[in-house]
């Protein structure tokens, strides 16, 4: 059957996460962006909502089952509050979910409880590389196998919380396949830049450049164990997270500019009463709806192991990135000069909105 409404459990999660996003994340977002720092307490409170914990079965210390649909719902809500905050709260997902999806039984037992029990702690992953033609399926960072060990070399960019992370998954090219490797913080040859990345947006999120100079990990630290893993489900999960977060940012921009247009007067009427503005808003709302449904369908297909789930996740991420750019750009346009100044959040959302085209790898659902 077709059905388009979250179930009761999902709705409860959406309500709780949405409330946190509106009352905690959103009010702190501008200050965090300007000061380049997210308050620890804020992230901690988001962590306690238990989005990741509910994706992990009790055998590994969690209390639920992973669902990409549920994850997408939560990611949209978080990003509706603030994208940097959403990525920060979800940083441990980048480590835990690949292990859950693709890891060996030993890896799950060893790492999952550590990540999800107790407070938020920095765990992360390194996928993105600093080149214009970065392609997650054709990485420049390499892994070579010899003497029952893997030797990893290369450079990774935009790695969240790399400085403090207890452990991270590094994705590298092993004989043409993208494979994940679990690397712990004291590994020899692992260097993390002291300087954080300086980006157009997402300034509250600490992102780092990471160098790997012949970092050696044992065969058992390859994600999935000796035979490795399929990267497609991991990548699809990243793409869906990106699409869902794009929905959240776009919805924030849409609602803000809609409300502004209903307040702002020009020529004796509210500007929302002008078709030029009203039609922009109608198209923004329509595109958000279109990409939400595509994201949901892709997530549902992933959860139900449908054949075209991976390609649909790709389409959703590409479509949602375009949509987020279009919607956030128009939100700034509707506010006009007021949209361009940093007193209103729409300029920040527009900067964040541009990121979805290249930031796959910063979130997972």
């Amino acid at each position: 059957m077709y059905s388009f409404e979250p179930n009761e459990e999902q709705q409860m999660l959406v309500d709780a996460v949405g409330k946190y996003a509106s009352t905690d994340l959103r009010p702190a977002a501008r200050e965090a962006e300007e000061s380049r720092e997210l308050p620890k307490k804020l992230v901690g409170k988001g962590w306690e909502l238990g989005v990741l914990q509910a994706s992990i079965p009790d055998a590994y210390g969690g209390f639920g089952e992973r669902s990409a649909v549920t994850g997408a719902l939560a990611a949209e809500e978080l990003a509706f509050g603030d994208l940097a905050g959403a990525f920060a709260i979800g940083a441990p997902n980048l480590f835990a979910l690949p292990i859950l999806l693709a890891g060996s039984e030993e890896q799950k037992k060893e790492y999952l409880p550590k990540v999800i029990e107790g407070e938020w702690r920095p765990y992360t992953a390194a996928l993105i590389e600093y080149s214009f033609d970065f392609d997650p399926s054709d990485l420049r960072t390499t892994a070579k196998f010899s003497n029952n060990e893997y030797c990893i070399s290369g450079e990774k960019a935009f790695v969240p919380f790399a400085k403090d992370a207890e452990a991270l998954i590094v994705y590298a090219n092993l004989d043409g396949r993208t494979q994940g490797f679990i690397v712990t913080k004291n590994a020899a040859g692992l260097t993390i830049n002291n300087e954080r990345e300086n980006l157009m947006g997402l300034n509250a999120l600490p992102l780092y450049r990471v160098k790997l100079d012949n970092v050696t990990v044992s065969a058992s630290d390859r994600l999935g164990g000796a035979s490795g893993h399929d990267f497609e489900p991991v990548l699809a999960s990243m793409r869906l997270a990106s699409a869902a977060a794009a929905l959240g940012v776009a919805r924030a921009a849409f609602e803000y500019s809609r409300d502004y247009a209903k307040e702002r007067e020009a020529f004796g009427v509210k500007i929302a009463q002008k078709q030029a503005v009203a039609f922009m808003l109608a198209e923004m709302r329509t595109e958000i709806e279109a990409m939400r449904l595509l994201t949901w369908e892709a997530a549902w297909k992933l959860d139900n192991a449908k054949g075209d789930a991976f390609s649909e996740a790709y389409l959703a991420s590409v479509g949602a990135a375009d949509m987020a750019m279009m919607v956030t750009d128009r939100a700034v346009q509707i506010l006009g000069g007021h949209g361009y100044i940093r007193e209103h959040p729409v300029e920040m959302w527009m900067r964040n909105g541009r990121g979805f085209a290249m930031l796959t790898g910063l979130a997972m659902v």
Binding site: M1, Y2, S3, F4, E5, P6, N7, Q10, V69, F132, D133, F134, D135, P136, S137, R258, A261, K262, A272, Q273, Q275, A278, F279, L281, A282, E283, R285, T286, E289, A290, M291, L293, L294, W296, E297, W300, K301, N304, F310, S311, E312, Y314, L315, A316, V318, G319, D322, A357, M358
Partner: protein, 420 residues
């Protein structure tokens, strides 16, 4: 409730069956009827009538879904509109013009279904299950009243001596007007549904629909339009001069209250029909996109899904964008009809699906022609025809602009007077 995208079995079955119909009876005749405007595709009409009669109602309209007789059986959720949308999309994939010539009442019957009393429904709709196929049409548009239906000038006056309505006016752009009104040996008697004012001083509140049976004196098919596309579907101009219809042919209340609820009720018909028209457009878009992909493949152009955008060729980007547009637009249609099936108010979703489909259908067909170059422009292939057929999607059943207006009013909480 839940979030689920499993296509129900009856939908998959109907798509499978209708695909054969679309290929054998529609595609193969597409070019002929495009080049012989106003000829009637009797084979298709008779085949569809027989097929629909065998499977049920004799029309494509969703049946009233009754609760299962056995209370112990789990109740299946209703899917009538979803099924209909899938059928329409598949038929339109075959040939959207010919789909519009599917017998069974079309928009005329939909208006009766939406606004008539049970007695009226019995009286007017029974014919569609009869021996011969029959048509019905909706007469709304006038030369001076397109999207602004409240500007309709056709009048209906009650003659109290005979208890008949007397209708005068001129209607244009009546889909299937000819087949619904003129008599054909191969057809059962049809009807047209005429929108007219019973009280011009009341504005929209005075607007009513009247069933005018085929052959009623005073009605004249003034002309059949020559169109850019969907040429197999007749589009009639109809003049009504002192047309008399019995009192009980009025749909809705014969008295006028100074509210617009009556008119809003009429507009609500569009909530049901807009996603269906959107579905018909998407059938054309899918035909064009599939053709484009096939031709590209023949010419050794591979679409590398999964690559970052900046590594894709322009053609690959265009095709991937088309996939995104088509898939997401179809999901919007599905959501709108799913809401209709589940009796949820869908004014917003219905209009959004039409906005999106109008855009997507025109863009995909236009881009496909562009990418195919001279082959796209040539009448050797149907692609150029689909380009011409597609454009109407963004015009009929509310233009893209009217639907944007409806969406905007919904999301802003504005009335028609607050956002004109």
């Amino acid at each position: 409730m839940t979030i689920e995208f499993e296509s129900p079995k009856p939908i998959a079955q109907t798509q499978f069956v209708l695909k054969t119909v679309a290929e054998e009876m529609m595609r193969s005749k597409s070019r002929y009827f495009d080049e012989h405007e106003h000829e009637i595709p009797w084979d298709y009409i008779e085949f569809m009538h027989t097929a629909m009669k065998t499977t049920g109602g004799g029309s494509l309209a969703p049946k009233d879904e009754k609760a299962e007789a056995d209370p112990n059986k789990p109740k299946r959720p209703p899917i009538g509109y979803q099924l209909l949308a899938a059928q329409i999309e598949t038929l339109a994939w075959g040939d959207v013009g010919m789909y519009l010539v599917t017998p069974g009442g079309g928009l005329g019957a939909a208006a009766v279904q939406a606004a008539a009393s049970p007695e009226q429904k019995a009286k007017f709709l029974a014919r569609f299950g009869g021996e011969k196929p029959a048509f019905a049409a909706m007469c709304m548009t006038e030369a001076g009243a397109g999207s602004d239906t409240s500007a309709i000038r056709t009048r209906a006056v009650l003659d109290e001596k005979t208890n008949e309505w007397v209708i005068n006016g001129e209607k244009i752009f009546v889909t299937a007007g000819d087949k619904s009104f003129n008599s054909y040996e191969k057809l059962d008697r049809g009807f047209i549904v005429v929108w007219a004012s019973i009280d011009p001083s009341a504005g929209r509140a005075g607007m009513r629909a009247f069933v005018v049976e085929s052959g009623t004196p005073g009605v004249k098919i003034a002309k059949l339009e020559h169109k850019m596309g969907i040429r197999v579907s007749d589009t009639a101009a109809i003049s009504l001069m002192d047309v008399r219809v019995p009192f009980d042919h009025i749909l809705g209340s014969p008295t006028v209250e100074k509210t617009t609820t009556g008119f809003k009720g009429a507009m609500a018909t569009f909530d049901a029909t807009r996603p269906l028209v959107a579905a018909s457009g998407l059938g054309v878009a899918r035909a064009a996109l599939e053709f484009l992909k096939e031709k590209l493949k023949e010419n050794g152009v591979e679409i590398r899904y999964g690559l970052p955008r900046q590594k894709l060729s322009n053609i690959e980007r265009e095709v991937i964008d088309m996939d995104i547009m088509l898939k997401s637009a179809w999901l919007m249609v599905l959501k709108a009809v799913w809401m209709a099936d589940n009796k949820k108010s869908n004014a917003l979703e219905s209009s959004m699906s039409k906005v999106k489909s109008g855009d997507v259908t025109t863009k995909i067909t236009q881009k496909a022609v562009e990418i195919m170059g001279p082959l796209g422009y040539s009448r050797e292939f149907l692609l150029e025809k689909w380009f011409r057929d597609a454009k109407i999607t963004d015009i009929y059943e509310g233009t893209g602009q009217i639907n944007r207006l409806v969406v905007a009013r919904q999301i802003l909480g504005y009335s028609g007077s607050e956002l004109r």
